[in-house]
């Protein structure tokens, strides 16, 4: 057993890194943003209360993922409004989704990295890869050539890749 990965000095950083992805992770099951937010907030509250006594041999990410997931399952079991989701969350597969959790972390990091793109590049990447518009549609929409659209998306992709590769949170368990 190792020491707690949570302490007063790193708690803010941990909170700000994982709060958004965890809320989105829970919301992907519950389809209820407020409840999802409450579950994540409650989990962090519990972790804060017990930060000195938590002894784990895993990362903060894995611990938070498991804690949030368990709290979500408890909510589904105890709250009738989530009855329809009882079958969608497989309670027996506790480790079903650390990869799933990683997806939400990656999405968060992509959004953060997109903020570093030039406004026009960000807009083009967003229209293409998030909104799902074709290159021709974007070209017509922004009155630029299709080639310029493609070049911008490719450059944005390169920048996002280089940004993401340096992210230790995503690529560690």
């Amino acid at each position: 057993m190792n020491n707690s990965p949570f302490n007063e000095s790193n708690f803010e950083e941990v909170f700000k890194t994982y709060f958004g992805p965890l809320c989105n992770y829970v919301n992907s099951y519950l389809k209820d943003w407020e409840s999802s937010r409450e579950i994540v907030q409650g989990t962090f509250m519990k972790v804060w209360e017990n930060k000195d006594s938590i002894k784990i041999n895993t990362s903060a990410k894995s611990y938070l993922y498991s804690a949030v997931r368990n709290r979500m399952i408890d909510s589904i079991r105890s709250n009738k409004k989530f009855d329809e989701y009882k079958n969608t969350v497989n309670v027996d597969e506790a480790d079903e989704g650390i990869e799933n959790m990683n997806s939400f972390l990656i999405r968060e990091e992509i959004l953060k990295s997109m903020e570093k793109l030039k406004p026009k590049m960000k807009k083009i990447f967003s229209l293409s890869k998030i909104e799902g518009l074709t290159y021709n549609e974007i070209a017509a929409y922004l009155n630029i050539s299709k080639r310029a659209v493609e070049d911008n998306v490719a450059k944005a992709l390169r920048i996002l890749k280089e940004d993401l590769e340096g992210n230790e949170v995503i690529f560690t368990d």
Binding site: K31, G42, E131, E137
Partner: protein, 446 residues
């Protein structure tokens, strides 16, 4: 027969063997096929050795290094992008795949590109959280908890969370939250007295809300026709009576509202990050273009959301489905409000129905579209025979079973191909030669 030595063979190859040795060599060679083959090999080596003076030795390690670096440099980011977009020709695809296999680093780059593109597609459903705000809220909660010494952690946590759930500082994109966002003092210790006060307060609110509801109901009845009523500072409501009406919003969006339809819409598009309207009924939307502010239509009765930046589409009447969307211009993303992962991206001409759980593509009726049903492979054969085109298939296009499509074969050939390309599961690219096309994507899920 005398014994044959290597020197004898060498003499033979040089043409310097004595007649006696020559005869012995012939006998040795004809005696056994192994000997014959061996002699033949000596002859071959001897002949090729003559050319060694003009043969340049190549440093293959160095050449391999040059070759791989050339491939790495020659794969542009746009080619990688086209690969993932399904727009690359078979040659380009092979080039990218060769580049990927070239090194672990390339493979890692490839996987990361793929990961970013896959996750980016899911970002439209991802909510960005204001973590600074959430952290500040969390700090307030911690202080609040410190003032609640008598209750257990779980109970305290639950109560505090209920309080925070109406926190005015939390950003929520839903219309109802925008309406309800009010400054409420939050952090006061939870006590029996406070609970009692809150019950009284709620009763007062309940009475006030009832009076307000009656007033609104009376107002609506009195209007009984096209009317604009202020719902609060940010939203307005417009209701049509027994005839359709046209309404123009502050951003320039024009909406043809059908009869008996209620529209709740933003008063000023500048006041929020997106332009959100709720419709209870049917109508046609001609959305003013604004790439900065998505226009979101929430269809109240069907539970369908439609997200656009600027386009023209219509919510149609249907006895069969709870919602039918016809996209006229541009592209829209229609999704289920209860499960945003259930969605469809519609391009111009698409018509989709929502049955409460999924979106179903609807094909136009024959009288509206002068087409007939054909197998898609028949249509491709027809195009090749009639137009002289050369239509080939990418090895990556999967032809699974039959696909029946509605096509008007009397149309110009280019338009037929365009009609095919409107299918989400069909893509083609024009090849460099005249009249050459390649089907790059065609998958049918049965």
């Amino acid at each position: 027969m005398s014994k044959i030595k290597e020197q004898d063979i060498l003499k033979l190859l040089r043409g310097k063997a004595s007649p006696k040795k020559l005869k012995a060599l012939e006998e040795w060679s004809s005696k056994d096929t192994v000997n014959a083959v061996s002699l033949e090999r000596y002859q071959r080596i001897y002949d090729e050795a003559d050319h060694l003076s003009t043969y340049n030795h190549v440093d293959t390690d160095l050449e391999w290094k040059n070759f791989t670096s050339n491939i790495k440099e020659s794969v542009a980011d746009t080619e990688i992008l086209e690969y993932f977009d399904g727009l690359a020709s078979p040659t380009q695809r092979k080039k990218v795949e060769d580049w990927k296999k070239m090194s672990a680093s390339n493979e890692s780059d490839f996987e990361t590109f793929n990961l970013i593109l896959e996750e980016s597609r899911e970002l439209s459903d991802y909510k960005k959280v204001d973590v600074d705000n959430e952290w500040a809220n969390f700090g307030k909660l911690l202080k609040e908890k410190e003032t609640q010494p008598t209750e257990s952690l779980e109970i305290q946590s639950s109560n505090v969370q209920k309080e925070i759930s109406v926190a005015p500082t939390f950003k929520n994109t839903s219309t109802s939250t925008v309406h309800e966002a009010k400054e409420i003092p939050l952090i006061t210790p939870y006590t029996e007295e406070r609970q009692s006060n809150r019950v009284v307060m709620w009763r007062v609110f309940a009475v006030a809300a009832s009076i307000l509801l009656l007033a609104v109901f009376g107002w609506t009845l009195w209007q009984n026709a096209g009317s604009s009523t202020t719902s609060d500072d940010m939203f307005l409501t417009y209701a049509t009576a027994d005839y359709p009406e046209v309404i123009t919003l502050s951003d320039g969006t024009i909406i043809n509202l059908d009869e008996q339809t209620i529209l709740t819409y933003f008063k000023d598009a500048n006041l929020s990050e997106e332009r959100s309207v709720t419709i209870d009924g049917k109508g046609e939307f001609n959305v003013a273009s604004n790439p900065e502010k998505p226009f979101i239509v929430k269809a109240k009765r069907s539970g369908v959301g439609i997200r656009v930046l600027g386009t023209k589409f219509r919510l149609e009447k249907s006895d069969e489905y709870i919602e039918v969307i016809r996209n006229i211009e541009g592209s829209v993303r229609a999704y289920s409000l209860s499960d945003t992962s259930t969605h469809v991206v519609m391009t111009a001409g698409d018509r989709y129905a929502f049955d409460g759980a999924k979106f179903i593509e609807l094909r136009d009726l024959e009288e509206e579209y002068n087409g007939k049903e054909y197998d898609i492979l028949y249509v491709l054969d027809y195009l090749m025979e009639e137009s002289g085109w050369r239509v080939t298939s990418s090895p990556y296009a999967e032809f699974n079973g039959e696909a029946i499509i509605m096509v008007d074969l009397d149309k110009p050939y280019e338009e037929i191909l365009e009609d095919l390309a409107r299918r989400q599961d069909f893509q083609y690219v024009k090849m460099p030669c005249d009249g050459c096309f390649q089907v790059t994507r065609f998958t049918v899920d049965y």
